[in-house]
Symmetry: C2
Subunit: 147 residues, 2 copies
DNA sequence: CCGAGTGCTTACGTTAACGTCAACATGGTT
DNA sequence: AACCATGTTGACGTTAACGTAAGCACTCGG
C-alpha cells in the first residue's frame, strides 16, 4: 500500500507545515458524515484551521477525531468525550496545581471506564453461562435423536 | 428491613405464585423512575403480568430489569439490549436448529462486547500514558521548585 | 362516603446527536 | 463565461430515551 511513496508529490507542498487533510478525507477515512464532523466542531471537540474558508485538519485533529469515535464506541456522550479530550491538550506550560488537577480528572475518568469494563465483563460472563446452558440442551437433544 | 416478615399477609395471597413486586418497589430498588420502567415496557423489554390493573413483576422480571440497566451502563441502546434480552428467554422446548441459532447469536453478541471492551482497554491505556506524562512533568517541576 | 395514596393512560416537552435540504461561495476546468 | 465539484452556513426534521403534567380509576382507613 505504501509502495507508491517516492517524493512524487507535485512540489507545491508548503515546506513548513505538516500534512493537512480535508473534511471529506477524514469523513471517508473514518466512515462518518461531513455533517458529523462539523457537528463535533460545533460542540467544541474539533477546531481545525481555516484555509481559504475551508477546514484544514492536522494530524492532531485526526487523532482527536479518532478519540472521539473511540469514545463513542465505548458508549460515552459527546460531553464526556469533550471532558476526556481536554486531558489530551498540551499542558506543556501547566502550573503544578493545574497538572495535579488534570491527573485527578484522569484518574476519575479511568475508574469510570474501569467500571464500565467490569459491567461488560459481567455481561460476558452471564452470556457465557447462557451459552453453555444452550450447549447442554443441544447435546441432550443429540443424544436422544442420534445416539 | 425484612424483620416484619411473619405470615401477616392478609391471607388472600394466591398460593401457587412466586413473589411479586410492585413497580415502585422495583423503581426504588434500582434507583430509576416509574416512567422509565413503563417506558421499557412500551419498548417490549419488560412484560409484567397485570393484577387488578396494576403491574406485577416476578423475579425474572427483576433480573431482566437488571440486565437492562447493566446494558445501559455498558453504553448499549435499548434496541441492542432488547436484542440481548431475547437471548435470555426460556428456550426450554427449543428445536435443535433453533438452539444452534441462539448460540450463534450469543457468540456474535459476545464478540461485539469483546470489541467494546478492547476499545475501553485501549482508552485506559492511552489515558494511563497521558497520566504518566503529566506525572513526569510534575516531578520535574517539583525538582525545580523544591529540590 | 370521602379523601389520600397509588397506579394507569395520553399527550406534550426535552436533550443529544445527528441527517437533510436549501441557498450560496469558490476554485479549477473546459 | 459556463459548469461542476467541493465546501459553508443556517434552518428544520428525526430518533432515542426519557421527564412532566393532566386526568381518570381503584382502594383503603377513618
Amino acid at each position: 500500500m505504501n509502495a507508491t511513496r517516492r517524493q512524487a508529490v507535485p512540489a507545491v507542498t508548503p515546506p513548513s507545515d505538516d500534512e493537512l487533510y480535508g473534511i471529506t478525507e477524514l469523513a471517508q477515512e473514518y466512515g462518518i458524515s461531513l455533517r458529523a464532523i462539523r457537528f463535533y466542531e460545533d460542540k467544541g471537540l474539533l477546531a481545525p484551521r481555516r484555509i481559504n474558508g475551508g477546514r484544514a485538519y492536522t494530524r492532531r485533529d485526526r487523532v482527536r477525531l479518532g478519540l472521539i469515535l473511540r469514545g463513542k464506541a465505548v458508549g460515552m456522550s459527546l460531553a464526556e468525550i469533550e471532558h476526556i479530550l481536554s486531558l489530551y491538550g498540551d499542558h506543556g506550560e501547566g502550573h503544578a496545581t493545574q497538572l495535579e488537577y488534570l491527573v485527578g480528572r484522569i484518574d476519575a475518568t479511568m475508574t469510570e471506564l474501569d467500571t464500565r469494563r467490569r459491567h461488560i465483563e459481567a455481561m460476558l460472563g452471564e452470556l457465557g453461562e447462557v451459552r453453555s446452558q444452550l450447549k447442554k440442551a443441544l447435546a441432550a437433544k443429540r443424544r436422544l435423536g442420534k445416539g
